[in-house]
Symmetry: C2
Subunit: 148 residues, 2 copies
Amino acid sequence: MEENLPPGFRFHPTDEELITHYLCRKVSDTGFTSKAVVDVDLNKCEPWDLPAKASMGEKEWYFFSLRDRKYPTGLRTNRATEAGYWKTTGKDKEIYRSGVLVGMKKTLVFYKGRAPKGEKSNWVMHEYRLENKQPFTPAKVYHIHKML
Amino acid sequence: MEENLPPGFRFHPTDEELITHYLCRKVSDTGFTSKAVVDVDLNKCEPWDLPAKASMGEKEWYFFSLRDRKYPTGLRTNRATEAGYWKTTGKDKEIYRSGVLVGMKKTLVFYKGRAPKGEKSNWVMHEYRLENKQPFTPAKVYHIHKML
């Protein structure tokens, strides 16, 4: 239906909508997709290739991606691609719905090359996860854009 | 159709879309309305009454309004309501489409009371007009929101 949106209408979800309407559905049904948020493997995609993978979006793109473990027994996650890596910036933000904590938002910046000598790029990623005690949830939502 | 938008979809037009898709149509057909942009008389509405006049919008609202002349023979416009007045802030912004100037955007803030002793409020209005040589165009688009 997105092709038929009247002029000026766009996918501009709030943090809470992304979690409750998209991530919760994905977690309960990994087959769930929508035109607004499509599946992608973030470890296999460079940020500049992501816009072409999306079904919609002009300057901002939304994806589902599974999280990879860097080491099978560890808690660290693999945020590297062939060309570089995503590095966390700032503190995670708590996302509330009606006063209840429903998820967390982490912001990352893409660096070209290999840590710790990577070169900072203007690609930004916001990663949304459900709030629960387990370190890994089966899916996450990602919001990608370039810094202004 | 807006009632049937999937979660996270909203009316978030660019300046250029507001002018080319909404204001141009209104100017060529004053009977034109849409759910996203409805007619209102800004001289008869206080800003806090505007959200209820709109068909949609949570924190931002869009309207068409005709401009009133303050004096029949003058160029000054009447931006007063019963409770206060809208005062221009900053410089007008030029809006381009593919390098062509299509319109202008003026930003105003609402003051309670009477000039010059009004009390500044947190209501903001962006006024879009077509770019032409005449001082008055038959319609304008207004984007209203509260300051964060």
